[in-house]
């Protein structure tokens, strides 16, 4: 009788940090995200709370994401300038999350401390149709949370909100408004 070999379970600390790029199916993500939204919906009492909850979930992801990406990219220099950091977010972070760079990055005309990242169709919103009684809910609040977490972790404290902009062609774009804390601006 042959004895079955018991596999030695590798602990998560033994696995290599640098892993090859993997792809996740859009449907799996869509179903998981749909469940996240439904789960959060039963635990909050208002739409603003639901957005806040999604942001909080994204925040914890963003904090750890930026560490992991910097490690995997083997970047030797970290960004210390504001614009450099924003470009890092809209290029490297976006590519890692969504496979492409953000559509546009611009600076607000009115306020010195506001910047905007444009994204034509955030992956969180592709299959979501918000019912009329939920008005202005934007599930991209999740992505806004990721950005906020990443920026905070890199010591660029900011508040990020997601806004839906309706354009004439009927394609709704999402704009992530990044408002930096005053100490970040004065540091520049």
């Amino acid at each position: 009788m042959s004895e079955r070999k018991v596999p030695i379970r590798a602990s998560i600390l033994d696995k290599p940090l640098i892993r090859p790029k993997t792809e996740v199916s859009l449907s799996s993500f869509a179903f998981l995200f749909s469940e996240i939204v439904q789960y959060s919906q039963t635990r909050v009492s208002s739409i603003a709370d639901l957005e806040k909850k999604l942001e909080t979930l994204g925040y914890s992801i963003g904090q750890k994401l930026i560490e992991m990406i910097s490690c995997r990219d083997r970047a030797t220099k970290r960004e210390t300038r504001l614009v450099g950091m924003l470009q890092y977010v809209s290029n490297v972070l976006w590519k890692h999350l969504f496979g492409k760079a953000a559509d546009n990055l611009e600076r607000s005309m009115e306020n010195e401390d506001e910047y905007m990242i444009h994204e034509n169709s955030p992956v969180t919103n592709t299959f979501v149709s918000v019912p009329a009684d939920m008005g202005h809910l934007n599930c991209a609040a999740f992505i806004a949370g990721i950005i906020a977490g990443a920026l905070d972790s890199a010591r660029f404290n900011a508040k990020v909100t997601a806004h839906l902009v309706e354009s004439e062609t009927g394609i709704d774009r999402t704009i992530f408004l990044v408002k930096f804390a005053p100490e970040v601006i004065s540091r520049e």
């Binding site: 869509a30 179903f31 749909s34 469940e35 939204v37 439904q38 299959f127 979501v128 149709s129 019912p131």
Partner: protein, 145 residues
Amino acid sequence: MATYYQLFIINRNGGLVYSKSLAPTAPALSTNDSLRLGSTFHGLHAIAQQIAPIVSGGIERLETETFILQCFQTLTGVKFVVTAAPGTPDLDALLRGIYEVYSDYVLKNPFYEVDMPIRCDLFHRFLDKQIERHRSLSTNKRRSL
């Protein structure tokens, strides 16, 4: 010319989840009528499955002199039913395309409760696109024959 008359989507309990008139020549149905039609068809489908002399999955296609009715039943019991003018080709492909749109924009929508009437904006939009695509595809097919 590919003329589709009506589309019905019936949930697994027989309740009508979505109905749409696809041509101005289609008979106008009130909401109550559509609901009644939906549940009647659901019942007939089940009966046909039971009394068929061979192993059958229910009513798939009904052809009369004035219209064709094609039904596509999914593994979960949701039925997609379309009526069209006689001689319209590729109704099966149309129903499969609609099933894809349904599974994308209805089932992945966190604000949709299963078996409830469909009220998703994106579903309506992409459904129209899908129907238009199939309409022009089968019209072109006809022309090239």
